[in-house]
Amino acid sequence: MPVTLPNLSRRAFGRLALASSVAAVGAAWSSERSYAAAPKGEPIKVGILHSLSGTMAISETTLKDVMLMLIAEQNRKGGLLGRPLEAVVVDPASNWPLFAEKARQLLSVDKVSAVFGCWTSVSRKSVLPVFEELNGILFYPVQYEAQECSRNIFYTGAAPNQQAIPAVDYLLSEDGGGAKRFALVGTDYVYPRTTNQILVNYLKSKGIADEDIMVNYTPFGQSDWQTIVSQIKAFGSAGKKTAVVSTINGDANVPFYKELGNQGISSTDIPVMAFSVGEEELAGMDTKPLVGQLAAWNYFESIDTPANEAFIKQWHEFTKNPKRTTNDPMEAHYIGFNMWVQAVTKAGTTDHDKVIDAMIGIRQPNLTGGVAEMLPDHHLTKPVYIGEIQDDGQFSVVWKTPALVPGQAWSPWVPETKDLIGDWSQPIACGNYNTVTKTCIGKKHA
Amino acid sequence: MTDDSLLLDVRDVSVTFDGFRAINNLSLALKPGEMRAIVGPNGAGKTTMMDIITGKTRPDTGIVRFKGRDLTKLDEPTIARLGIGRKFQKPTVFEALTVVENLMLSLKGIRSPFSVLMARPTARERERIAHLLKLTRLEKHADRQAGGMSHGQKQWLEIGMLMGQEPDLLLVDEPVAGMTDAETMATADLLREINRTRSVVVVEHDMDFVRALGVTVTVLHEGSVLAEGPLDEVSADPRVIEVYLGR
């Protein structure tokens, strides 16, 4: 592919090269770029900040690909504001400080108009200050623990109230087996911790007693689940219908489910509701022993709507691989990207402030029906589906929320944040606004 | 009972390496200023004896006294500081350092890391080193890297380093192994020279060398003393002959 250097970055690296007594590295500087055919003019750059190596590559590489697809598609449709879109791909290599560095590069060197990226909460946390300092725009496509609301970030994934709470409602319901006892199993990091904190409070409000709630945390990449699974089994033998709510991080799921299967825990006696297991993860598992296990998402590949069908078709053509699955974060990027396109069109410019303001209220149809709307707290309205794993590695939807659920940046189930809301629309224009004291705790944007 | 008039007093020492008795009730007494040659076939326990004296190996039984102090409880550095210097069979000098740097490290005195850190060469040290260079005839090589020198020169440098320690007792392990005859004789002179001020224990195969030293000889065999006395006397001893020539 042709390599042209944005002047500034060449200059910048000229200095750096000089600084580190290495000649001409500056010239080497460039980024992978995909060029559009049709539209003319100075391209609008879109940053893609997903790990292509290291532990997170497993999940994030796909999102890089889907972005390239969406951008190519947009260019085919004539680009944006009559200008071509240009993807700037970097590899933060699953290294959190590197995320911050790369974010800074994208914003200050490549001067991208928007960045689509991050998967783990920690990567988002590490780039957040950079985006706020340089007033960038980040679209974050993964379900997460919320309790955050930055003006510069649009959270296109699910907040806990768009995934965890409905999922538990289902488990409590007759259809879900009317569970009376809950094992909350998760990897020891922020998302599970927060989600479980929220769930515990919620469950108590539903009259579940303390002794009927078991919380267990395991390290990243836990591969030996024998003990914990047997603990779950024992926990399930108290004569009450028991369910497991799993916030186990992607990688550790395979051994976890394998152990479940082997220790003979079937979905009909102890159903497991997972928040981080999607089609992508299933593709890496032998799903026969998992049939009937549950997952809660805002999107499932199996949901058949014309839009989804088209999307999947496009994806298969783009990746030249009819087996590649689609999943929830991919849809989140699809929605986020199209919303951004709309906002830019609406604002008539890629100026960050204008676009950020234009974003609120933008509506974009979901792939699975219903319309996503960008709320003032930079979260979306989403449908919530409960899917059961099938032996073909897909989910079959067994339940959905009657209406779209608006995302909450701040959980009402956490005492410290029950009075907080995020609202970036005037006059409040504040990420964490206390509705009782009527004050803005964080920085307020004039 | 121990005799404090002795400089080194090894008594009934035994040591076993997983089953194999390397040293068996070995006793050895050395008077101040004495030079002693120790001979014996391979496996007689010569090097092990040195290991025991210098604290590298702990004896299973027996006592080792140096100037009346029991050495068996002490570790190598302490023993070295007490005034026992050791020269290895294979010349072990600091090959990455120059001759002068080698000698400088060996000089008696500063030993604790911090003082070494702060140490700067003093006039006295310089003149000591000059003297050692002369003694070991390495003046011309003062700033050469030890690693680059000939085998014999390394041997001498190591002896020089021993001198630098100003020990009361030198343990010298096969100093002339692999030396030319000329070097061998020169080494003998050097050791006699040294012996004027210090006690020396030499372990050696080379009979001509031992003869050149002209000192009391102790014959080790299978970890214990076989015979002791002037060379001629000892070499006449049938048992010694048997051990050396075999039956």
């Binding site: 400080p97 590490s126 309790q147 990091y189 705790i441 | 550095p77 294979k90 890391p113 070494v116 700067r120």
Partner: protein, 379 residues
């Protein structure tokens, strides 16, 4: 373990020159970054923060070189000290946020609130005072290094064994810090810092200053290291590295010698870590990852083991390469990095420094005295 000749000359002109270069570069870059955007000589904040990061890494490399290049201790866990220093600094920066956190709690950092803790754990006390925090930066890693080194060297753990347990050490620390219960923010670590000593971390000025400070600290570290490894102690180190038992028979205590340099190097690493955090804006358990420690060893190998300047050079170059490749060839940069390691170890045993400062003839390989003894006639 003795493929290197005596590192450097008796004095290390390289080190001094490098110290000067570092300071100058830092000042130049800092200055240039203060120029208005329009000015052709302007340097972007991105470059400044990068440079700062590289220099911080260089301190880590320097500390590794001290123990590996000069004392022959291959550490695979030095990033632990780097990270600990970082955490100490991070604690201070965390407290500086004060009531500006998400939950607006003046006393507790956000992550403690989400763990619904009610009060500061004791080990956070006083971390709001810069001086105390800086003391922690130095003391904690030094203490850990002290205890660990004392145990290890006293019982003559050496070679691979030492390498592996250093790795185990940092690995254990990583797992520990991952735990939210420990009170250091778990996987997320400490981040979202606002300012240091009242100065906003996100202003060009602060960045420039931090860069210069880092440069100066690195230069300082270089000079002190030079003082340590030059002169007699340096010779003693080499002696211990090449013929440990011989030094014992000379009356030295190798364990103490190693311990001294080990602790000193841990402190350099810690300072590097502290400065690193201020410029990168986040410290988390990932920094303890054994891979990081190994990479830092690589930097030294690339630059030239046993040469102070080489360590710095290696750290800067490798990381520069990483920065370029991760953006240039996002899909393939790992091949580049991997090849770099292979090439260096195969063809540049003395690293880049070896290229223009031909090493003195290496001392003969193999057979350290210990071995020759066991193979001696008693063996």
């Amino acid at each position: 373990m003795n493929l290197l000749s005596k590192p450097g000359a008796r004095s290390f002109p390289g080190a001094v020159r490098m110290a000067a270069v570092v300071v100058v570069v830092a000042i130049v870059l800092a200055g240039a970054s203060m120029l208005p955007e329009s000015n052709p000589l302007h340097v972007s904040a991105f470059v400044v923060s990068l440079a700062g990061k590289y220099l911080a890494y260089a301190m880590l490399a320097l500390s590794v070189d001290l123990v590996w290049g000069f004392a022959g201790i291959l550490t695979l866990g030095h990033a632990a000290f780097f990270a600990l220093g970082g955490y100490a600094m991070g604690m201070y920066l965390m407290r500086e946020i004060g009531a500006r956190g998400v939950y607006g709690n003046p006393n507790l950092p956000d992550f403690m609130i989400f763990l619904s803790w009610k009060s500061l754990p004791w080990y956070w006390w006083g971390t709001d005072h810069f001086a105390w925090a800086m003391l922690l930066v130095l003391v904690i890693p030094a203490a850990l290094a002290g205890v660990f080194g004392w145990l290890a060297f006293r019982s003559r753990v050496s070679g691979v064994y030492l390498s592996i347990i250093t790795q185990a050490l940092t690995y254990a620390l990583m797992l520990g810090f991952f735990q939210n219960g420990l009170g250091f923010g778990g996987n997320n670590g400490l981040t979202d810092f606002k300012d240091i000593l009242g100065a906003d971390l996100h202003t060009p000025t602060t960045r420039a200053v931090l860069l210069v400070v880092t440069g100066v600290m690195l230069a300082l570290a270089l000079l002190i290291s030079r003082f340590v490894v030059g002169g007699r102690f340096g010779n003693l180190l080499v002696a211990v590295r090449d013929a440990e038992s011989r030094t014992r028979f000379l009356g030295y205590r190798p364990d103490q010698v190693k311990l001294l340099v080990w602790v000193f190097s841990a402190m350099i690493a810690a300072v590097g870590g502290a400065l690193y955090v201020t410029q990168v804006g986040i410290i988390n358990p990932g920094e303890f990852a054994p891979a990081n420690s190994i990479e830092s060893v690589i930097w030294v190998a690339v630059g030239g083991r046993g040469t102070l300047a080489g360590a710095v050079l290696g750290a800067v170059l490798v990381n520069l390469g990483k920065t370029l490749f991760t953006a240039w060839l996002p899909e393939f940069w790992l091949y580049g990095l991997g090849l770099l390691f292979l090439v260096t170890t195969l063809f540049l045993p003395n690293g880049l420094m070896g290229l223009w400062r031909p090493m003195k003839k290496a001392a003969p390989e193999e057979v350290t005295p210990e071995v020759s003894d066991t193979q001696g006639d008693e063996a």
